[in-house]
């Protein structure tokens, strides 16, 4: 299967499901949320097209965070895991050729970023960024260490659950998405104001990766499965109808 030409426009985003802009317990959202209504219109070519990232963009270790910042013969410290899954659209079709970029803290919850001042130590063999492109069936995988929780200045004693950030490109710029993956069973999930912007337990579950013993490599790495769903694209049958609807 290659890229199917579908120009029927994207299904509208469900704003009752997606988080609101203004979510006061997450304090930074107070002054960074628009107050006027969003202007709605059906997608046009500007939103139905998107940059193409070829597989030749990806270096050999780009999807291996255990090794991609490590000295030769060394590796990052922490629980070794594989994260894998599929990128799908709302109709359940795999999205091939989707660029995924991931970033995360190290096993102690420390990010490699100059504005980060948490006292947990950096791991000299861990950078914290990786990327990959989905295969023909929309599947992807990368290898990393499980990140640690870390404290952040929001409430008096707020800690983020262990999480991995994902940036995803689909086939249309309207599908552009950034989200976070959480780990099954983490007690911080229900305490976190950023998780708290999600409107239902179903939405929290959609971002929580289960432990996947089927993909675990014995004596090597455990595995977590994380599927990502992008907005669906309509078929082209009614393309020349006014407004594209």
């Amino acid at each position: 299967m290659s890229l199917i030409k579908q120009t029927g426009g994207f299904v509208p985003r469900d704003r009752d499901w997606q988080p609101d802009a203004l979510t006061p317990p997450y304090k930074t959202s107070l002054k960074r949320s628009p107050q006027a209504a969003l202007l709605s219109f059906p997608t046009t070519l500007s939103e139905e097209t998107s940059p193409v990232f070829g597989h030749n963009l990806i270096g050999e270790l780009d999807n291996d965070l255990i090794l991609n910042h490590a000295q030769p013969g060394e590796s990052a410290i922490g629980p070794r895991i594989i994260v894998h899954g599929r990128v799908l659209d709302e109709m359940g079709r795999g999205v091939p050729g989707a660029l995924l970029e991931v970033w995360q803290a190290n096993a102690g919850g420390r990010y490699r970023h100059k504005k980060e001042s948490y006292q947990a130590a950096l791991d000299p063999n861990f950078g914290g960024c990786g990327r990959t492109i989905t295969a023909e069936d929309g599947s992807y995988e990368f290898r990393t260490i499980q990140p640690g929780p870390y404290p952040w200045p929001n409430g008096m004693n707020d800690w983020r659950p262990a999480h991995i950030h994902f940036s995803v490109f689909g086939h249309g710029f309207a599908q552009r998405l950034i989200t976070q993956m959480y780990f099954e069973g983490d007690p911080h999930i229900k305490l976190c104001p950023i998780v708290g912007v999600l409107k239902s337990q179903e939405a929290v579950d959609a971002l929580t990766a289960p432990l996947d013993m089927h993909r675990t490599v014995p004596m090597d790495s455990r595995a977590y499965k994380f599927d990502i769903v992008l907005r669906g694209q309509r078929q082209t049958y009614f393309e020349n109808r006014k407004e594209g609807l």
Partner: protein, 204 residues
């Protein structure tokens, strides 16, 4: 019982957080990776059309510049064609990617894109849209990426009949979508997330 609609739900968005640069512009934050940051240049050779610079700053509701935002732009080439796999109308300029990404200046937050003035792209019903650049803003405190468009103040005729601009109820907000000429080939497009100068954001 009627049949079930078995569609999947889009993955919920979460904020990009303050360290988005680790993943998306690692070299900018001091992590050498990938042989350079993706989207740092939009030109891979001599490009067709008028080369321009678009600069701007993202401000919060207190008028403070964001210094941890990431801005991406996506646009057509000078003939109105996209460098996209699903562009069916012709071949876009092979030396122009159409896509750029900027973390802004580390101290001031000002972003800069070296790009070209886009050509007109048709609306689904065939009417011409005024030249525009799609912009997408993510940052700490933004729960779901904000879409807007950069139009050009010196395209008054095209702007006056643009299908999107003419749809805006509060026509006095149109200037928030216009990049203002600021010297030879340079345009300024400031983004205000909140307040009286608030930029028009789109649900597309």
């Amino acid at each position: 019982m009627v049949q079930k609609l078995e569609y999947l739900k889009e993955s919920p968005s979460q904020t990009a957080g303050p360290y988005v640069h680790i993943g998306c512009t690692p070299n900018f934050t001091g992590i050498e990776a990938y042989g350079g940051d993706l989207g740092a240049t939009m030109k891979t050779g001599p490009v067709k059309g008028t080369e321009i610079t678009v600069k701007g700053t993202v401000y919060d509701g207190m008028g403070m510049p964001l210094r941890d935002a990431m801005i991406e732009i996506w646009q057509a080439d000078s003939n109105g064609l996209f460098a996209s796999a699903n562009e069916t109308r012709g071949d876009a300029d092979p030396n122009f990617t159409g896509w750029g990404r900027s973390a802004g200046d580390m101290n001031t937050g000002e972003f800069t894109f070296e790009t070209i003035k886009p050509g007109s792209v048709p609306f689904p019903d065939g009417r011409p849209q005024a030249p525009h650049i799609t912009a997408w803003i993510v940052a700490r405190g933004i729960n779901i990426g904000l879409h807007t468009r950069i139009y050009f103040e010196d395209e008054a005729e095209a702007n006056a009949i643009d299908p999107i601009l003419t749809r805006i109820e509060h026509q006095n907000r149109i200037p928030t979508l216009l990049a203002k000429p600021e010297g030879e080939g340079v345009y300024r497009f400031d983004i205000h997330l909140q307040g009286p100068l608030e930029t028009v954001f789109f649900d597309i």
